[in-house]
């Protein structure tokens, strides 16, 4: 007799394809009569538990064996939750809540609660491999590094150093990310980038150009003090679940919570006010709110006169956005916009939170600046409970942006000008001329806006555009050759748009190197038969390092377990490669290397030595370790230690933590908060844009931080300014020597910063925030319709930019795309977002059995109206096709979460391509439990006019049943 067997089985299915897990009945019908007499036999040992049930519990705790506790930080989002790992005999056997962490207080979301599974590593890449004739062949590390290195050297010789794209990671530690940037510099190229490009690059550029730094101004914990919270394009409940602990406590303290989103998210479910708007119309909405604020005189006039420049020009633009225009463009009822304005005005301080919904547009920089302007008008920046709380994505995307692989900057936002290179050459202790010679010096190229420059001083090709770096006609590139090889260390390619062209690009490359704990979508999506290398790379649980949370706090990670299988940490991989490529000695001059492993603490000390701009100088490894040890002494609202060895300091020394570690600066918990002295973590707006513009004063007027000896605005500190002020002699003789001719950013002794702070001044000056960013394409933020817009009738009124020939080394199209109306054939707006269970490209989370069983399938959310119009039935497969021809096969989920005219998909899936499951292309045993279509296979062209951010939150698609 052969009984049925149901899909419930003891083990996670090796090939848990999506359809099986969701449609149970279909699966049953298919699996049919399979078990045989097994069911009967299994019951024979009658009253005893079956041993087989226990077989897959692979790491039981052993009684009587010593348990060690190690503390690390969750690697899945920017909140920075503490994780306590229980280790027995080097095996990760348990996970405990870290109640003492002031950030998460022991809390975890699904991802944080699952990190122990990384210690099992069932689906990891276990040894170096290369694809030969369509099958994966095992290599030794030496073989792999030699083969890769030889090929890279040949490419370098033939096509110059810019022919390789080095993709780093926001999931690397600060030290790993820093070495990724340094590696690219020593290789001789700016073609390195990481996830921040497609995450918050528009935020960083837009916000920094408004008031100085492009980071979250307050902290998650500070949201306890809010009176209002406006979430635009942020789904914190799914993207930053533990932050919701603080958000909801703020709400319980009386804050009004407003969520503005095209989708009724889990966050919206907790909001007092929910407003739906059309994707990509955030500028219009924000101006609509400002229209009411200005009309009713709700703006903070004193704040604006003291601290804000350019609001008059904003008023002129806002006047064009009366309620009926907003209702027409954004699709938001007039009374709702008025209600949001009134709520924000009557409940101050209020905070504004935004995420990818605000940034991932071709006008992303305009949108984020509009948000900043709203907060400035309300006087909400620089106060506790206010701020622009920009929740960042990956666990170390803040740190990697600050000190890591950015194609447009050196660590610490020093830029790419010659002085910056000279400065960093000095920090690195290498000869500037030697460094220069590493770069392509054969000729100069168009740096955009007409000037010619060497590639050393032109921003590299960003990660959002690497495919164009491969496919574009080399004549149009501002570099010598196309990319011939790519090296991806910790980045999933399914998070970048235009999957169909990406496949072409991958197939055109000579070599693809993937250094990652898991084989990413990149390893399987192309039809390549060879030339792909997989380097098993350790997770952050298998190494040490510091990580910067979204609130700018740095936390120290302890090593939980030794690297699994043959994995090596990022910095060891980079060292081995640097050694092969011949610049290891130069690159690791200041860093002790122990058997190919650079000492992480030394790397952080080098960061401390160089990153004066953003105050990454005070966070020495010793201080970070002390904070980790005494984390229970920090207040859970202010993050300030009460008593104990860290008394008065803020948890994780949120940057800027000015001066040398010896200065004991406590870190800056709230940016631009003048109610504290700079020495105690106070700050004012940065003077980064000169002192005057068109005859108007750009410095603050009558506003200064507590205890400032200069009772007005002042420019940034330089040696000359110190002399003028008569403070020069406060420097020690050694400091004088180092500071001569330098400024607060380049004085390696830290003396200028020390003296400025001693006199109560901010080293970066005291200026106004500017509402008009004259160096951007749109000085005053403007609404422009998305390149693929459903409201083509509005294009004439809100057109996009003209095409650009050389923009980040590439031709970039705007008008030529928008000139075609796609809205007839592709009537639905297509947006994407996060699921709480997965993260980023999702490989590591989809390979985690505990998470995979919660979300077994890729799907598309579609409103019942559109479902009926398109014939998509709930739970059935549909094709979602983008206007550039890419299409994905996904299950329809008919829901009211999205309004009519908008569809939404998660972006974490991969392993399928245009309807085909690529399971047999993975190295044996490494296919993630859950695979599905990458939503970006169907997404389209569209890049921000400042940062090349991809436009994923507002393209078009059509849907039809399979």
């Amino acid at each position: 007799m052969k009984p049925f067997k149901k899909s419930v089985s003891r083990k996670a299915p090796e090939q848990a394809g999506a359809p099986e897990s969701v449609d149970r009945r279909t699966f049953l019908r298919r699996s049919g009569w399979v078990v045989g007499s097994g069911a009967l036999l299994g019951l024979l040992p009658l009253s005893t538990m079956r041993r087989t049930e226990a077989a897959d519990k692979d790491t039981p705790p052993q009684p009587g064996v010593k348990t060690e506790y190690r503390r690390t930080i969750c690697t899945h989002c920017s909140v920075g939750c503490g994780v306590i790992a229980e280790i027995q005999n080097g095996v990760w056997i348990g996970q405990e809540p870290d109640f003492d962490s002031p950030i998460n207080l022991g809390a975890h979301c699904a991802k944080g609660a699952s990190v122990r599974d990384h210690g099992n590593g069932h689906k990891r890449v276990k040894y170096p491999m290369k694809l030969v004739n369509g099958s994966w062949t095992r290599l030794s590390w030496d073989q792999a590094v030699n083969e890769i290195g030889d090929r890279l050297l040949r490419i370098r010789e033939e096509s110059g150093p810019d022919a390789v794209f080095w993709c780093g990671s926001s999931k690397a530690s600060n030290e790993g990310a820093y070495l990724q940037r340094k590696f690219a510099a020593f290789w001789g190229s700016n073609n390195c980038d990481h996830q921040a490009r497609i995450c918050h690059s528009t935020t960083v550029a837009g916000v920094a150009n408004t008031w100085g730094y492009g980071a979250m101004t307050n902290s998650y914990n500070d949201m306890h003090n809010c009176k209002a919270m406006l979430f635009i394009g942020s789904n914190a409940a799914e993207a930053h679940p533990v932050a919701m602990q603080h958000v909801l406590r703020g709400k319980e303290n009386g804050a009004k919570m407003i969520v503005v989103d095209p989708r009724f998210t889990r966050t919206a479910a907790h909001a007092d006010i929910y407003v739906r708007l059309r994707p990509g119309t955030d500028v219009g909405f924000t101006y609509g709110v400002l229209w009411h604020i200005f009309k009713n005189g709700w703006e903070d006039t004193q704040y604006i006169s003291q601290r804000v420049w350019g609001m008059e020009e904003i008023r002129k633009e806002v006047a064009k956005w009366p309620p009926e225009v907003v209702a027409n463009v954004c699709g938001t009822p007039e009374e709702q916009v008025a209600l949001v304005a009134r709520t924000m005005a009557e409940n101050r301080p209020g905070t504004l939170v935004w995420c990818m919904g605000g940034t991932q547009h071709h006008i992303g920089n305009n949108i984020v600046r509009a948000f900043c302007i709203l907060q400035l008008a309300l006087g909400n920046i620089g106060v506790s409970g206010g701020g622009a709380n920009i929740f960042r994505g990956h666990d170390n995307v803040q740190g990697a942006t600050d000190v890591g692989p950015n194609c447009d900057s050196l660590p610490g936002y020093y830029g790419l000008v010659e002085a910056a290179w000279q400065y960093w050459a000095e920090v690195w202790g290498v000869d500037y001329e030697w460094l220069k010679a590493r770069f392509d010096r054969t000729r100069t190229y168009d740096a955009g806006s007409g000037q010619l420059a060497f590639t050393m001083n032109i921003p590299g090709i960003p990660v959002s555009r690497w495919i164009d770096g491969v496919l574009e006609d080399p004549k149009n590139l501002s570099q010598r050759s196309n990319f011939r090889a790519v090296f991806f260390q910790g980045h999933a390619c399914n998070s970048q748009t235009r999957g169909v062209e990406m496949k072409k690009a991958l197939e055109k490359l000579e070599m693809v190197v993937i250094s990652d704990p898991y084989p990413t979508h990149m390893a399987v999506m192309s039809d390549r038969k060879d030339g792909i290398y997989l380097l098993p790379t350790a997770t952050q649980f298998e190494t040490v390092g510091s990580v910067t949370a979204s609130n700018r706090s740095l936390q120290w990670r302890e090593k939980v377990i030794d690297p699994l299988f043959e994995s090596l940490p990022d910095h060891v991989v980079l060292y081995k490669l640097a050694k092969k490529l011949g610049f290891a000695e130069q690159m690791f001059k200041n860093i002790k290397v122990n058997q190919d492993e650079p000492l992480i603490e030394d790397v952080l000390r080098e960061i401390n030595r160089g990153c004066w701009t953003i105050g990454y100088t005070g966070q020495s490894p010793e201080r970070l370790k002390l904070h980790a040890e005494h984390r229970r002494t920090f207040d859970t609202t202010t993050l300030q230690a009460k008593g104990g060895p860290c008394d008065g300091e803020y948890y994780g020394l949120p940057w800027p933590c000015w001066g040398n570690p010896g200065l004991k600066h406590p870190g800056t918990p709230l940016l631009y908060d003048p109610s504290k002295s700079v020495a105690d973590g106070g700050l004012v707006f940065r003077a980064n844009f000169g002192t005057e513009r068109n005859g108007q004063n750009l410095l603050a007027e009558g506003l200064f931080s507590k205890g400032s000896e200069i009772k007005d605005g002042y420019p940034e500190f330089t040696a000359d300014l110190l002399k003028k002020l008569g403070w020069w002699d406060d420097l020690t003789p050694e400091e004088k020597k180092a500071a001569e001719g330098r400024n607060w950013k380049t004085d390696l002794s830290g003396g200028i910063q020390r003296v400025a702070i001693k006199h109560g001044c901010a080293p970066f000056g005291n200026a106004k925030a500017r509402c008009v960013v004259w160096n951007f394409p749109d000085a005053v933020p403007l609404h422009r319709e998305p390149l693929y817009t459903p409201r083509y009738d509005l294009v004439s009124q809100y057109p996009t930019y003209a095409d650009r020939q050389a923009f980040w080394r590439l031709p970039t199209r705007y008008r030529s795309i928008q000139s075609t109306d796609h809205s007839k054939k592709y009537p639905l707006v297509f947006i994407s977002g996060r699921l709480v269970e997965y993260e980023g490209g999702g490989e590591e989370t989809r390979s985690n059995a505990w998470l995979a069983k919660l979300q077994p399938e890729m799907f598309v959310e579609i409103n019942s109206v559109d479902a009926n119009n398109t014939g998509a039935k709930d739970g059935s497969y549909v094709w979602l096709e983008g206007p550039e021809g890419g299409r994905i096969k996904v299950r329809a989920m008919v829901t009211e979460r999205v309004g009519p005219g908008v569809v939404w998909t998660p972006f974490h899936f991969g392993g399928w391509f245009q309807g085909k499951d690529l399971v047999d292309r993975y190295p044996p045993g490494t296919a993630p439990y859950v695979r599905g279509e990458a939503c970006n296979t169907a997404t389209t062209y569209g890049y921000d006019s400042v940062t090349q951010m991809q436009e994923t939150k507002g393209t078009l698609c059509r849907i039809y049943p399979v």
Binding site: R24, R25, L28, D272, V275, L339
Partner: protein, 324 residues
């Protein structure tokens, strides 16, 4: 306390009905109404067992609180477990009383020694196959219902659990076989069990077992046997179908379906068992000479004449026995 449950039951039934009608109304429109938290709708939905969404694929996990379980528990642990022993003992008692008052239905004449074939080998195998499965099912089924009250105090938890583990297995595997047996029986015997007018007469005379009236006429199957056949078929079908619902929880049947199936299955099983007592009584000690018909396949001429006279006459013709 009793009232508590009847009220609960009433609410459940009402809620169930209402949920069916107003399921849509609960969802309401999407018109944003700022500041209004529709808490009441949520709790009403919970009480009505409204299905939500969840990432768990397990049966029933979409419903937060299912009210059916408590009702099922009350019905099983209350009326079913309560009435069953009374019913079963009442039947046994009634048979005992009948036996004492009326006594065995003896053969009215001495055995003739002439054997008349009554049941073929196939029929007998079929009967005993089904009957032995029935007894197994009855024993294990009763153990599931009453073992905790009766057997655990006697044998202890461990021993009972071991027995019950095997018992459950036996019950689950023999159930479908029994069901199959019942179906084959139905095909085999349905035609001759079609009721006829004379069966009414048979019942009027109580089969001639009570009192001294003349024996009523009967064919191969008398009225009593026909009633048993149709009852057996009904009970077999009902308990068989509900049993299959419970035995194969792999077709996505809902928890509520299984609860209802269980109540029907248990009640029907008890009725089946109670009725079977009568059948067993008549077939063994109740009527002399009956058992051998199903055991050896042959009955005495006297028995045949006494109980199934019309059949006997027909048989006698076939076998050329003559009228005496």
């Amino acid at each position: 306390m009793k009232r508590y449950w009847s009220i609960g039951m009433a609410i459940f039934t009402a809620a169930w009905l209402i949920a069916g009608w107003t399921g849509e109304a609960v969802c309401g429109s999407d018109a944003p109404s700022p500041g209004i938290n529709r808490r009441a709708d949520f709790w009403r939905g919970v009480r009505e067992g409204e299905a939500g969404t969840t990432t768990s694929a397990s049966e029933g996990h979409k419903v937060l609180i299912q009210n059916g379980g408590q009702n099922w528990r009350q019905i099983r642990n209350g009326p079913i477990a309560g009435a069953a022993p009374w019913l079963l003992s009442a039947v046994v008692f009634a048979i005992g009383v009948f036996f004492v008052l009326v006594g065995r239905d003896r053969l009215e004449e001495p055995r003739s020694g002439v054997a008349i074939p009554r049941f073929s080998l196939f029929e007998r195998i079929l009967h005993w196959f089904t009957a032995s499965l029935f007894i197994l099912l009855a024993l294990t089924g009763l153990s599931m219902l009453f073992g905790r009250a009766v057997l655990i105090p006697a044998f202890g938890l461990g021993a009972f659990a071991a027995y019950m583990q095997a018992g459950l297995l036996v019950h689950n595997f023999s159930g479908p076989l029994f069901f199959a047996g019942v179906l084959v029986e139905a095909i085999t015997w349905a035609k001759e069990n079609i009721p006829k007018r004379m069966d009414l007469v048979w019942f009027k005379n109580l089969g001639g077992m009570v009192g001294k009236g003349p024996r009523p006429h009967a064919g191969r199957v008398n009225g009593g046997e026909k009633v048993w056949f149709w009852f057996m078929l009904t009970a077999g079908l009902v308990s068989g179908v509900t049993g299959l619902v419970l035995d194969f929880p792999i077709f996505g049947q809902s928890r509520l379906t299984m609860q209802i199936a269980h109540v029907i299955h248990a009640s029907m099983g008890i009725l089946f068992l109670a009725a079977s007592f009568g059948h067993i009584y008549i077939g063994t000690i109740g009527a002399e000479g009956t058992f051998e018909g199903m055991w050896r396949g042959k009955v005495d001429k006297v028995w045949a004449k006494q109980h199934n006279d019309l059949w006997y006459e027909q048989k006698a013709k076939e076998l050329h026995l003559g009228t005496n």
